[in-house]
Symmetry: C4
Subunit: 205 residues, 4 copies
């Protein structure tokens, strides 16, 4: 495939992902942003300010690995959180950031992290093959200063075992995986796992 074919292909995957994510109620208003990495290391990412359930090809732009626009469009303010993930995780080929209500509620009830343990559904995540394990999803304070927020995330990652997702408090969820499809599966699994914990705490999805 040419670079342009790759872009078109991934852009369409992000558009379709947005429709699915919107049907779940995870991107109210114009919230959320999505990206996918091309073989040459450039990144297809949603532009700023669109409803993620109704994306069109023109709403996906191209940036380089340092978050610089390559086509003159304006990327989301949170682009640096995406590039930071791609830099740290060579196998991450897609990053999805919805404003899932369950993730937001989790951030209200759990302080620094939520630990998911004992569920068969944990096997949805790469590298997990039994329910007899646990997975930690850290929760970071929200910050409108995205480089500062990215730094906070980086500092955590420098001093902890690898993570597969994180929550920004009162804001939403970030997760990433080896393809858009796999990242969607992570979102589905995380939403269910968060829902189990919330319901057991008396907070109902």
């Amino acid at each position: 495939m040419t670079d342009n074919d790759n872009f078109q292909n991934l852009a369409q995957q992000l558009i379709d992902a947005g429709r699915f994510i919107d049907r779940q109620g995870w991107v109210p208003a114009t919230s959320g942003n999505f990206s996918a990495r091309l073989p040459d290391g450039t990144i297809a990412i949603t532009v700023s300010g669109k409803h993620k359930g109704h994306l069109q090809l023109d709403d996906i732009m191209l940036i380089d690995a340092d978050a610089q626009s390559l086509d003159g469009k304006k990327p989301s303010a949170e682009t640096h959180l995406h590039t930071s993930i791609y830099r740290r995780f060579p196998n991450a080929q897609a990053v999805l950031h919805p404003h899932s209500p369950n993730a937001i509620l989790v951030s209200k009830l759990f302080e620094k992290e939520i630990v998911l343990a004992g569920y068969e559904l944990l096997k949805a995540f790469h590298g997990i093959s039994t329910h007899e394990t646990s997975m930690t999803v850290p929760i970071f304070a929200n910050d409108q200063d995205i480089p500062r927020l990215a730094q906070q995330v980086e500092a955590y990652m420098d001093s902890h075992p690898p993570i597969l997702a994180y929550i920004i408090a009162g804001h939403g969820l970030y997760t990433w995986a080896a393809s858009v499809a796999e990242t969607l599966r992570y979102l589905e699994a995380l939403d269910h796992l968060f829902a189990y914990e919330l319901r057991l705490q008396g907070v109902k999805p």
Copy 2:
């Protein structure tokens, strides 16, 4: 566009908005009403008594800024609440009033107002650019005497900072913005924000 083109265009937007709003479960039975302002100051508004999820062109009528019918049809009893909003807010081009269950439940648990604070999703509203802020949605007692209810709302607005939405207790939500599309985004955002607060109170959407 001719006046008639403008009407047809906005009427179609209200019809489509009704389908979306109904799919969310926010206009049970024949509840709710919607309007949009034309460039000449007249207002397209839903007629009385139809299901808002199945509107047809004939179910949208034209009134003037004083709520007088311009085409012989009978507007909703609550039309004066719409015209009062358009009069006060020159930038309001659409008003949507669903009977969102979350708004109704909020009115049962919060007395005079609900304050939404600390959520990233607050940035969905015009003029808000950080989660480090709060937004007040006042709650008014329901009243079958609509002019009297409109007066109650007006009196509040005269003595408070500008608001973006209000709740009528046990009844529903009013919100408005610069277009039908933007007002739909407000509805989505408000429903999520109300849901967060309800769930944290132990009341589950």
Copy 3:
């Protein structure tokens, strides 16, 4: 219209109502049954044992006012509850009986009746024009002996003001109105009203 046209028309309305009701999750498995009265007093009603979300014309049969089959098909065991309603309420032209979870939960939390008061949505019901009123929905114990259950309902109705709906405990809801469309509106309104009360009791739809 000929009698046959009337039957076909009402049968199609019941089929469409079933699709809507199933999408709401109100007729799990093969539960529920629906009917509509023809101008000549005969009644189109769902046959026994079909999934109400996937009805076909052949799944609607014709009975007389005494619940006798007019076409050799076997009506639902609960047919006598339908005919009893048509006998008592001359304006009832349709009866819908879903197994709405909210109605079932209401029957677990409220003993003999649920009183719905103060909601704007009460205006969805014929004859109610203000939220400043209340509406009582009685709850009857379930009974596999349908004639005996019908008698219990009749006895209640003989000694109380007219009702618009009733619940059978642990089973479902009966409501009726002047057309299939209006009865669907009643179902929507009742489900919302029950949900408000359940959520305020800490039981979440």
Copy 4:
């Protein structure tokens, strides 16, 4: 029908069942597995690792009654739970195993079993003709060693009255019936019955 016709027909039923089950939110990520028995005793079953909401013909494989692949494809790790059910229940022609959130939550709140009693909806199950009965769904501890888990289930069944479904804790639900369609009805009914009990316990679906 030829054996191949039978396979194609049942495979399509499993594909359609998967779409329905996915729309209910019961098979997040690639969770769950489904099977149906052919007249000759061989079994059509979903292959390992696919999303059950988007199955294609190629994702259904054929095994014999001892769980051996007959077409070179790799069956789900949980295949032995399916074959064990078919062996014990001659009338079982389909087995559906979703990761229904309600079943998972039930396993968190009820220790060894959940008893469903007094609901009209119990009549959805073969052999039950009144609400005045109860039905026990046992809950087994999860185990990645599937033969060992199958043994645990077998031991229970050897010493208890026949069951129609069981839950694996933190994992999901198994149920079976005389056809794919009937088993889907069982799933719907069980999900509603679990939801009633969860809501009455203060845990909200």
